[in-house]
């Protein structure tokens, strides 16, 4: 059990002072997860605040000995889903949103030239498309394990399925994304490259 788990167990039994340790243990991980899925600091903080209020209100239902983070994450995901449903899909951020300053800065760090930037964007777009083609359960499983850093058992709890189910979904998502990445990195035959650039994806002049 982590210190946050123990603190939550104490808080559930009425020790009000323990909530501080719960906050310190859970808030940064929640923030890290939410920033990848929700646009805007205000919205992220609203969801974090709401998550802690829900945890506070439901503290009496917390099982002593259980892990607090999967529970908090499940609440945050539920709230995020509600927010997203209300505000439609534009409230969600794509994995590689071109308008996202963080993602742009991240890309700018690793690319050296305009062509590499274009290539990186093309790969990003293909990966994003492949990611969006994943089934919802696969996407959720992949997010929980690969981006939120939960163990398979924790992710299974949050997603409400078996550990084997989570492993299978993550593996399938990984295989699909890996195939999309390999496909995007595969050398392009000269004729195909010319026709692709003529289609407006890349400027004329060839790829180095």
């Amino acid at each position: 059990m982590s210190p946050a788990d123990e603190a939550m167990a104490r808080y559930a039994q009425g020790d009000a002072a323990a909530f501080d340790a719960v906050y310190e243990g859970v808030a940064p991980r929640l923030e890290s997860y939410l920033r990848r899925h929700v646009r805007g600091t205000t919205r992220v903080e609203d969801i974090i605040q709401q998550t802690f209020l829900q945890m506070h209100a439901a503290r009496g239902t917390f099982n002593v000995g259980a892990e607090v983070f999967p529970w908090a994450l499940a609440i945050a995901r539920r709230l995020t889903y509600d927010v997203g449903r209300k505000a439609r899909r534009e409230e969600y951020r794509d994995m590689r949103d071109e308008d996202d300053p963080d993602a742009r800065a991240e890309v700018a760090k690793v690319v050296a030239s305009g062509e590499e930037l274009l290539e990186a964007r093309e790969i990003g777009a293909r990966l994003s498309a492949a990611y969006n083609r994943l089934s919802e359960p696969q996407r959720v499983a992949f997010e929980l394990v690969k981006t939120a850093g939960l163990s398979h058992a924790q992710a299974a709890t949050v997603a409400g399925c078996s550990v084997t189910g989570i492993k299978l979904r993550v593996h399938r998502a990984y295989v699909a994304l890996r195939a999309a990445l390999d496909d995007a990195r595969a050398p392009v035959p000269p004729e195909a490259a010319v026709s692709s650039r003529a289609g407006g994806l890349l400027p004329a002049g060839g790829r180095r």
């Binding site: 605040q49 506070h56 239902t61 099982n63 499940a74 409400g160």
Partner: protein, 216 residues
């Protein structure tokens, strides 16, 4: 990026506005709510005739009831509790438990009755009275369970509600088992197995509305 410094302060100051019962208080409230449901179910059961031996040998009644109690008790424990997780058991677990307990219950009842030669058809008893009694006695504990978990389930609210319904259905099956002498298989399906499904469906529908978290 990091959280704004005043977020923690905002959260801590808003906690006072939200009632937050402790585990002991929640447990007491649950026992009270679920207990009221069980008392209501017993009242309906006894008003409708209570335990009826009819022509059944006492040992048959005792054997079916004890076996059913063991199956139902295990099923209800798995369906109505959450194990060690704060989020409850996986949906596949709940579904498997509900199906296994229902099949075992019907199998036990039919098997023991067949051993005693008490499986003759009862043309005048298709099972509608047992169906009605099972749903009526199961509905109140189901409502108690749903109310005690109101707005507290972040994942699988429908499955949780359905599990509560199946658990309540299994509980009512134990009562109706004491009441009904008919072990003819079509009767068992209509009057004893179907109510578990009906209550599970009702639990799922109500669960989607009552159990799911709502923005405060």
């Amino acid at each position: 990026m990091s959280l704004s410094p005043d977020l923690k302060q905002r959260i801590f100051s808003s906690l006072a506005e939200v009632p937050a019962p402790t585990r002991t208080q929640v447990r007491r409230a649950r026992v009270w709510l679920f207990g009221c449901g069980v008392v209501g179910a017993l009242a309906i059961f006894f008003l409708d005739g209570g335990v009826r031996m009819t022509s059944r040998p006492p040992s048959l009644v005792a054997l079916t009831s004890l076996g059913t109690a063991a199956i139902v008790g295990t099923g209800m424990w798995l369906l109505l509790t959450r194990g060690r997780s704060a989020l409850g058991r996986p949906v596949s677990w709940l579904l498997g438990t509900a199906l296994a307990a229902s099949v075992l219950f019907i199998g036990w009842r039919y098997g023991v009755s067949a051993h005693y030669g008490e499986i003759a058809p009862w043309p005048g008893r298709p099972g509608f009275r047992c169906l009605a009694l099972s749903v009526a006695t199961g509905a109140l504990p189901l409502l108690g369970a749903l109310l005690s978990w109101r707005r507290k389930v972040p994942v699988s609210a429908v499955a949780t509600g359905a599990a509560f319904g199946a658990g309540a259905g299994l509980g009512s099956a134990l009562l109706v088992d004491l009441w009904c002498p008919v072990s003819y298989l079509p009767h068992l399906f209509l009057g004893h197995l179907l109510p578990i499904g009906v209550l599970a469906l009702l639990g799922g529908v109500l669960g989607s509305r009552l159990l799911r978290l709502a923005w405060r």
